[in-house]
């Protein structure tokens, strides 16, 4: 059995999604029940479903020294790093600990594949990439992390985790292990995924895209809405930020079931939940808020509603926020980690936007409307293709 972990401080965090740039924009949208989805106005025809698009990404200019990294995904990453004073917090950590003692672990599902798609649309007469896109580092799945390492001037352990939609939840687990073993004194974690044809047409081919905005846990839900987002957090030991909210536990597990469908009984999801609770030294009755994976696919939501019903007491609150942001894929873990952290900070549980007719399989835990209440412990679920499950537990400073 897993023994409790030493909690870590979330010294800083930030998020940018279809709800706007920065934590305040996200909280304001959640508080007022204002979703960020819109009819798809991105990429190649035909227009598929609705999307959660970040305004202003196209206008972002990278600093001259980072120009070789230019692409939509890295523009979104750079936009995200500017918010909430996050860059200053990283610079302070770098000054305090030394650049090689700050690890960088980011999650992404498709990184800058949008740039590779563009190169294939504009192959030259010899069938080669166009000259302006002959940048090998951009056409590799670690491009986000390599860009961020250069942008932040970090020289510690550096890794991209790409386990589809659990990617930027699992980075918290890897960072916690590096700190526990003394291989780093702090870690920047997070994730970025941006809109691209690959995911829009790919999920369309799987018949998983809803014709209008997604409706998590609605009885008639009909698929997901793809979104894009960038989010980051700075993990430190408690003595560096004793009043900051905390990472209390993490859990990871595999379904051993199917490449693109969750286990119907939620075995892997429940193993991840159990591991996270064990590391936090808590039982499920202590959890005040659960941010669900809740993609609005038929299968995920059926599995997850049953899991909530059998594991959490009626007084706990649970909601999916994909109706606000869309499914931001490899960035979903960090986006929803910041939502869980804001639930603790503001004493507010976001409502499960988009479910006009709640699925009767959902129990009394579901927060169909936003609700003010004290949240001391908040949990976030993230599940990915290939049956890859992660669960994070956050808590208030003791």
């Amino acid at each position: 059995m897993k023994t409790p972990m030493t909690p870590l401080a979330i010294g800083a965090c930030t998020v940018s999604s279809a709800l706007g740039c920065g934590l305040a924009a996200q909280h304001d949208a959640l508080r007022h029940g204002r979703g960020g989805l819109r009819p798809n106005d991105f990429g190649s025809a035909p227009r598929l479903g609705w999307i959660g698009r970040v305004d202003g990404v196209e206008a972002v200019a990278l600093p001259a020294g980072l120009a070789a990294w230019d692409c939509r995904n890295n523009r979104l990453a750079w936009l995200g790093l500017q918010q909430d004073g996050f860059l200053d917090r990283v610079h302070a950590a770098r000054a305090r600990y030394g650049a090689h003692r700050v690890a960088l672990l980011l999650g992404t599902s498709t990184a800058s594949i949008g740039a590779t798609e563009e190169a294939y649309r504009r192959l030259d007469a010899d069938g080669r990439f166009p000259v302006d896109l002959r940048r090998p580092a951009l056409h590799a799945p670690d491009s986000l992390t390599a860009f961020a390492a250069a942008a932040l001037g970090l020289e510690g352990p550096c890794l991209t985790i790409s386990t589809a939609c659990s990617s930027s939840a699992k980075v918290f687990a890897s960072a916690a292990r590096l700190l526990a073993l003394g291989l780093a004194d702090a870690a920047v974690v997070g994730g970025v995924d941006s809109l691209c044809d690959n995911v829009l047409f790919g999920f369309n081919a799987l018949e998983l895209i809803a014709p209008a905005g997604c409706r998590p846990f609605d009885a008639d839900r009909d698929g997901i809405s793809i979104g894009e987002a960038a989010g980051f957090a700075l993990l430190e030991r408690l003595d560096a930020a004793p009043d900051a909210p905390r990472l209390l536990g993490y859990g990871e597990a595999s379904d051993a079931w199917h490449m693109s469908s969750p286990h119907p009984d939620g075995h892997g999801a429940e193993l991840a939940l159990d591991a996270a609770l064990a590391r936090a030294g808590l039982d499920a009755t202590r959890v005040d808020y659960v941010n669900l994976h809740g993609t609005a696919s038929r299968q995920n939501d059926a599995m997850e509603a049953a899991l909530v019903g059998r594991r959490f007491p009626a007084h706990a609150r649970a909601s999916s926020t994909k109706g606000y942001t869309g499914h931001t894929l490899g960035a979903a873990g960090i986006v929803e980690a910041t939502i869980a952290l804001q639930a603790i900070e503001h004493g507010f549980v976001p409502g499960n936007l988009g479910a006009a007719t709640p699925d009767p399989a959902c129990g009394p835990q579901f927060a169909w409307e936003g609700e003010s209440r004290q949240v001391d412990v908040a949990l976030s679920n993230s599940f990915g293709f290939g049956g890859n499950n992660a669960c994070l537990i956050f808590g208030r400073a003791a």
Binding site: S44, A99, H100, L104, S109, T116, E117, A119, Y120, R121, L123, G127, R128, F129, R135, H139, A140, P141, D142, A149, E155, P157, C158, L159, T160, I161, S162, T163, A164, A173, S174, R177, A180, L181, G182, L183, D197, N198, F201, G202, F203, N204, A205, L206, E207, E252, A253, S254, D255, A256, W257, M259, S260, G268, L271, G384, F385, G386, G387, N388
Partner: protein, 263 residues
């Protein structure tokens, strides 16, 4: 910082020249091992093996070799799958389709395109419900993934299977990835020494440039043309009489690995 100590219980290897770890030992002993057949990936059920992408077959082949050597139970074995480029054949095919007729994108090809497809196939085929991960770090993928697997093994006191592989590049993307041939390897790493221990590794991070044991001349070409080929820096002392290797884990940070052969 004290060195992190880990124990190797299994080693897998596949390249067009070397079909397993025994072939590497034979090569270093002066023999000429015969070229292997395509990766068999025998752990996959036959129908899965037929439709599995090339990267999955390579990853499952080397992971299966390391698992078999260790005798471990795969159902509770954590695993880390690492590749600098993912499945380049699928990326090439998807980008070609998206450029030509995006609505014709194949759903199977799309779900095979995720970086954790080998981890997914592996956990499904072996009934593994332990944590599984999929990682990358460009040219430093093997070193960074070894550190990730080592920290899992040591922080959580459990054995971890690490597989690192890249297939050859395809289409216009090949000029960017410069992957000229396939290479895959796997290590089964345990936090405690035991009856099946083959070697002990002592890992420490380093910002200076201490010397490492030079790669045998016969492996220099083998180590190039594929990002996973840097693993030969570690596989060579494992196959020989131990030694020290240096693996990059970040642009300005290396992992120094001291290898002590046990069996």
């Amino acid at each position: 910082m004290n060195a992190l100590q880990l124990h190797v219980e299994g080693i897998g290897l596949w390249s067009p020249r070397l079909g397993d770890f025994a072939a590497l030992r034979a090569l270093l002993a002066g023999d000429s091992p015969s070229a292997p057949a395509a990766p068999a990936a025998a752990l996959l059920p036959a129908n899965e093996r037929r439709r599995a992408p090339e990267s999955v077959r390579l990853a499952v082949e080397v992971a299966g070799q390391a698992l078999a050597m260790s005798g471990r139970d795969p159902t509770t074995l954590a695993c880390v799958f690492a590749s600098a480029h993912g499945d380049q054949a699928i990326t090439d095919a998807i980008c070609s389709t998206l450029a030509r007729a995006p609505a014709e994108l194949s759903p199977t090809r799309f779900h095979h395109s995720v970086h954790n497809a080998p981890a997914g196939y592996w956990t499904i085929a072996t009934g593994c419900r332990a944590p599984s991960s999929a990682v990358c770090a460009g040219a430093r993928t093997f070193g960074a993934a070894l550190l990730e697997a080592a920290t899992q093994a040591l922080a959580e006191r459990r054995p971890v299977l690490l597989a690192c592989y890249d297939i050859a590049g395809h289409g216009p993307l090949l000029e960017m990835t410069a992957c000229t041939h396939a290479f895959g390897c796997a290590l089964l790493l345990a936090p405690e020494a035991g009856a099946t221990t083959l070697a002990t590794l002592r890992l420490q991070t380093s910002t200076n440039h201490a010397a490492s044991t030079p790669l045998p001349a016969t492996l220099v070409a083998e180590a190039q043309g594929n990002p996973a080929g840097v693993a030969l820096e570690l596989l060579a002392p494992l196959a020989g009489n131990g030694g020290r290797c240096r693996l990059a884990i970040a642009p300005a940070l290396d992992l120094l690995v001291d290898v002590e052969r046990i069996a």
